[in-house]
Symmetry: C2
Subunit: 196 residues, 2 copies
């Protein structure tokens, strides 16, 4: 049987998503075909709307639909601290722990020379431009090899500039992604950070 | 932190998909945010395009973008046999086995009185309207309780009408979905069908 071309296209596009293989993509496509017209349209429009409206915060690179994100513009937060994370999703994981009241800086990844990601591919220059009036920088990159290397690189840079730098505590399981840690563990990791 | 509303909408819409929980939906949304603009647009357009163009075949209820599907319009196929399946994805699974050259009929589900699905909610009347010139109907509903009950119901109806009726062989693991069976097992199940 010849598949309709729009079905082939949909299966191919769905299969590009992380964690969705060809079989899951086909299953999703058939599932969507059986849904009411409005449900498919609202998913498509949610995608287009998100694509059109979401940008990175001009200051901390968090995900936002304003020029500056809701954390950078929140005057009740402690503007003397910056917590450095790899991705905006890591920032949200720390926010859920409720332990941290300062600002953030999203690196947009971690150092990975094997994949051609050096300091210039991350938002490190922007971080260095935000250090005035900052009393402490907390390095909350992942506990993966790349995350640890990025933390070490930043610690050396920041210590040379005389900025107090700390690393979130190894309460997190080593080798894991920040996003999957539970709130209590993440809260402890923030509370027990140590100077490096 | 306050999530941007378009992000909340996207996470909610992605979370409606089968097998995608709130955590996966959030991960997918952040993944999409990091993709090039064109990739998100092409996924959204694939959804809209599929929604607009895909319909059910007017004859066998297979998924198609024409008034009649590519199997119903294929004159080289054996038009004296109808294989009855629950969903269009089951039809594709049987096509992959390469064992069957006749036509199909998609029921759009199986009998499930608990969920309010009786004979009128399926395409059984349309099937009965297609029996002229048909020498055999193969019942390839799933080996689940509902699939078996549907096969029994149809067998009684069809035998009363004097139509030769068969059930695909129990080479399939009982209790499983047709879609996940491998091609060889499905091929054997078609070849070893038995009269009921």
């Amino acid at each position: 049987m010849k598949y309709p071309s729009s079905l082939i296209t949909l299966i191919r596009e769905l299969g590009k998503l992380p964690g969705i293989g060809p079989k899951s993509a086909q299953r999703l496509a058939f599932y969507l075909f059986n849904q009411p017209e409005e449900d498919i349209k609202s998913l498509a429009h949610a995608l287009l709307e998100a694509q059109a409206s979401l940008v990175q915060c001009s200051r901390c690179y968090n995900i936002t639909d304003e020029p500056a994100c809701s954390i950078c513009t929140d005057l009740s937060r402690d503007s003397s601290m910056i917590c450095v994370v790899e991705e905006a999703s890591d920032l949200l994981a720390i926010e859920r722990s409720g332990e941290y009241q300062g600002l953030y800086h999203v690196l947009n990844g971690s150092l990975s020379p094997m994949n051609g990601i050096g300091p210039d591919q991350l938002t490190i220059q922007a971080l260095l431009g935000r250090l005035e009036g900052i009393s402490e920088v907390i390095l909350a990159t992942a506990t993966t090899v790349e995350g640890q290397a990025t933390a070490m690189y930043l610690a050396r840079l920041l210590n040379d500039l005389g900025v107090k730098t700390s690393r979130i505590a190894h309460g997190l399981p080593v080798g894991g992604d920040l996003e999957y840690a539970d709130e209590v563990t993440l809260g402890l990791a923030i509370a027990n950070r140590r100077a490096i």
